[in-house]
């Protein structure tokens, strides 16, 4: 016979204002199997918890129902209290009288009646609860960081510095990400490369970091502490051990006119190339799409000139399997291609460029060595127009959000232009100036007041070419929507930051969720910004939303701490809310008939086939078996099972049917 204790909480007046708590406790006290029932002002307070603990000890309770707030709020609190009093924590259930009853209904009999029902169904459920033990799983103390931009670099270094191993993979030939492309950084105007490249080198030299560039995640299996990742190391067509990075091959390669990705198409590169001079690792890769040998079957100039014989034309992609305990995703973002805007003429007019292209023009290592020259004729533009919000904050274009970094980098661009082109005139068309951040507003004011950048509040409707000039048709909304026409030499579009191509597939490989714009979703927008809904997988940087450098770095360090915290334990404990297949005495063994529908239903590949053998080792039957490490406890298999042989602990058939019956029988 069960001995159940019912503890009805007033939650101050949050529950008792609309629910007659004394009546709830009194009614529950009359139910079969209820040995103790009481109401109290604050059940979660210390005296409240002591009330539960002493009742468990004195009355020898076998189950506890706490009728108070949502279990999402205080279930851990009350389960812990039960455990402290010697009752298995999973013998404690909560009835949600606050969020689901007192807060949403008016005071009255019907509300009290509902509260009584909610308590009753859990009293009946808890009779069928079983003592469960937490599952312990080991932790592999190696982290996988995906993406070698500033966020990935910071996360890798921080984790590595706590003494744990890190595997960093980057899809491009070099780490560095978007930050390596930038000229100067706001709000201090220090050179991006100067602050980034030492970190890149540190990553390459760190004894705890294994770096794989030109590598991508192929697939992921497993769960927190025990992931198995397959990594595709794309063929670089060189032997990295032999290559010294001397650069003979890149100077001699005859294919020299490939638009450089690093220079955003403004510069050229060869088919065997190092993306930029400070690349880490500073060893070339062969771009097989453009290499003459792969197109025509002959050339091999690089092989001939290579002094260490490091070229490998027949090298194939390698698939490597690694075991890791945690994953940090730092895959970053991309910018919207502005051919999205036919009215601005990007792609049609060579002098309409993107913000990232302007970064390359302004960069000392860029195609113009830092001089602002327009791509069409190399002339220094005398008048330049910057368009903020090219795509951002435009629901009609599908990007209603603010890309966040553009206001600041436009101010920086205009400032750099004014510093480099004396007497030049710059205009910025903006919707609002969003300069929230330390020293950000001051930076924008400096651009306007000290450097004389003309800020025009309004949008641009059209850009067209006339007599070699780009005519920018806009409007000044601070001057009563007066039309503005500027004859510019160059136009820079601050295109929206968007999720990477392939973000969706990566999210599916990792079993994490993403928002409508394909940015990866955090577990909680405020309190869990670096966690994902999948335990053991964390987010850093602009893969979660547009982020600037300080934020990306802060997020990366946050994710690194989460990983280090995880690695500080040798074993993880998990809730035992998992599925189990029943086992019976021979000759039945289990009611499972081995149809394995559950295997196809399981989203986690947690169900395996188990052979049942007799004493002589002969196979008797094949049944399903749940891997407790992989099972996440969704219960999809339970609803699938034809013979009701698989059940989920904490939400068993018995419990759920009992709840339905208890609810309606005394309704």
């Amino acid at each position: 016979m069960s001995k159940i204790g019912v503890f009805v909480c007033h939650c101050g007046e949050n529950i008792s204002a609309t629910v007659d708590c004394a009546k709830v406790a009194e009614t529950a006290g009359n139910y079969d199997g209820v040995a103790f029932s009481v109401d109290y002002k604050y059940m979660c307070s210390d005296p409240g918890q002591n009330l539960i603990k002493s009742a468990i000890k004195e009355k020898g309770l076998t189950g506890v129902v706490v009728a108070s707030c949502s279990p999402r709020m205080h279930e851990p609190t009350f389960r812990k209290a039960c455990a402290e009093a010697g009752l298995n924590p999973f013998m404690c259930e909560m009835a949600n009288l606050r969020e689901h009853c007192s807060w949403v209904h008016e005071k009255g009999e019907a509300t009290t009646e509902k509260a009584i029902d909610l308590v009753r169904i859990l009293v009946e459920k808890v009779k069928y609860n079983h003592s469960l033990n937490e599952i312990k799983v080991p932790v592999t103390k190696t982290a996988l960081v995906i993406g070698g931009g500033i966020a990935g670099i910071q996360a890798s270094l921080d984790i590595a510095n706590t003494g744990h191993k890190v595997i960093l993979i980057e899809k491009d030939p070099s780490i560095g990400g978007h930050m390596s492309q930038l000229s100067e950084t706001f709000p201090t105007l220090d050179c991006s490369q100067c602050i980034l490249t030492p970190r890149m080198v540190e990553v390459a030299q760190h004894p705890n970091i294994t770096l794989y560039t030109y590598a991508e995640l192929e697939s992921l299996e497993g769960f927190i502490g025990n992931f198995k990742a397959k990594i595709r190391r794309k063929s670089k067509s060189i032997d990295e051990k032999l290559c010294t990075g001397c650069g003979q091959c890149t100077t001699k390669c005859p294919v020299k006119k490939i638009p450089s990705e690093f220079n955003e198409g403004l510069g050229k590169r060869t088919a065997i190339y190092v993306p930029f001079p400070q690349a880490v690792p500073n060893k070339p890769v062969i771009d097989r799409i453009n290499c003459t040998y792969y197109i025509k079957g002959k050339c091999k100039v690089c092989e001939i000139v290579c002094p260490t014989k490091a070229i490998r034309f027949d090298q194939e992609d390698q698939i490597m399997e690694v075991e890791v305990g945690a994953i940090v995703i730092a895959t970053g973002f991309t910018v919207k291609q502005p051919d999205f805007f036919p009215e601005y003429g990007y792609g049609k007019y060579p002098d309409v460029i993107t913000g990232l292209q302007f970064e390359r023009l302004a960069s000392a290592s860029g195609p113009t060595l830092g001089e602002i020259r327009r791509p069409s004729d190399d002339k220094v533009p005398e008048k330049i127009v910057f368009l903020a919000c090219a795509g951002s904050r435009d629901p009609a274009k599908g990007i209603p959000y603010c890309s966040k970094i553009c206001c600041m980098y436009i101010a920086k661009h205009a400032m750099l232009y004014q510093h480099k082109v004396h007497g030049g005139k710059s205009y910025v068309f903006y919707m609002d100036i969003r300069a929230g951040g330390k020293q950000y507003e001051e930076f924008v004011r400096r651009a306007i007041e000290d450097d004389g950048v003309n800020y025009v509040r309004g949008r641009v409707s059209r850009i067209y070419e006339k007599n070699g000039k780009l005519i920018v048709n806009g409007v000044d909304t601070l001057l009563n929507a007066m039309p503005v026409e500027i004859e510019a030499d160059m136009v820079v579009l601050a295109t929206a930051g968007i999720a990477n191509e392939g973000a969706e597939e990566l999210a599916q490989k990792l079993h994490i969720s993403y928002d409508p714009y394909k940015f990866f979703a955090e577990a909680h927008p405020k309190l869990k910004p670096v966690e994902t809904n999948t335990a053991g997988i964390f987010l850093a940087g602009a893969c979660q939303a547009p982020r600037d450098i300080p934020e990306s770095v802060a997020m990366a360090s946050g994710a690194a701490v989460k990983v280090a915290g995880l690695f500080s334990q040798d074993e993880l404990t998990r809730e035992p809310i998992i599925a189990v297949v029943n086992r019976q005495a021979p000759p039945v063994y289990s009611s499972c008939v081995g149809c394995f529908l559950c295997v196809s239903a399981c989203p986690y590949q947690a169900i395996e086939k188990e052979e049942i053998k007799n004493r002589n080792g002969e196979l008797i039957k094949l049944i399903a078996k749940v891997n407790p490490g992989l099972c996440q406890g969704c219960g999809t298999c339970v609803a699938f099972c034809r013979t009701k042989s698989i059940d989920i602990q904490g939400y068993t058939h018995e419990q759920m049917y009992t709840e339905v019956m208890a609810l309606l029988n005394e309704y």
């Binding site: 999402r72 689901h100 029902d117 939400y651 339905v660 609810l663």
Partner: protein, 149 residues
């Protein structure tokens, strides 16, 4: 005669709709008190025999609600629930169970107001339909009378 108060059972998932209903509470949005929520880990766990059991026990209406497509905490449980619902619905139509009495919906953890609206709409529509006494005929219970208290 007092207005008929339907008995509504809600089968909801823990991660989206249960949390959404919590948000309705924290936002203090009022709704009809006819609904009783039963918590499941995921809509994928919901064995639709439970719905029949609920009707059998005297429920007048049922709400099944979980995470929006693609938002399932367990990746795909809600898709299984949806697929099963489509099959179950045609089975209901075939056997003569009134599918208007089952409301299938998605309510995310951020949609507190939507939860209240769904409950109110369901209560209104079930109130119009009246007590579900026909189920006993469909299920061929010969004698037992269903009483409402």
């Amino acid at each position: 005669m007092a207005e008929f108060e339907p008995k509504i059972v809600a089968f909801v998932c823990n991660w989206c709709t249960y949390a959404g209903a919590d948000l309705t509470g924290t936002s203090r949005i009022k709704y009809a008190s006819n609904v009783r929520i039963i918590r499941f880990p995921c809509t994928g766990r919901i064995d639709y025999m439970l719905l029949l059991k609920a009707f059998d026990e005297g429920a007048d209406g049922i709400i099944v609600s979980g995470c929006h497509p693609n938002d399932c905490h367990y990746t795909s449980g809600n898709f299984h629930a949806r697929r099963r619902w489509i099959m179950f619905r045609s089975l209901c139509d075939f056997t003569g169970i009134n599918t208007e009495r089952i409301k299938f919906s998605w309510v995310s953890a951020a949609e507190g107001a939507k939860w209240a609206a769904i409950v109110n709409a369901t209560v209104t529509s079930i109130r119009e339909l009246g007590p579900y006494t026909e189920y006993k005929k469909v299920a061929k219970y010969p004698e037992k009378e269903v009483t409402h208290g």
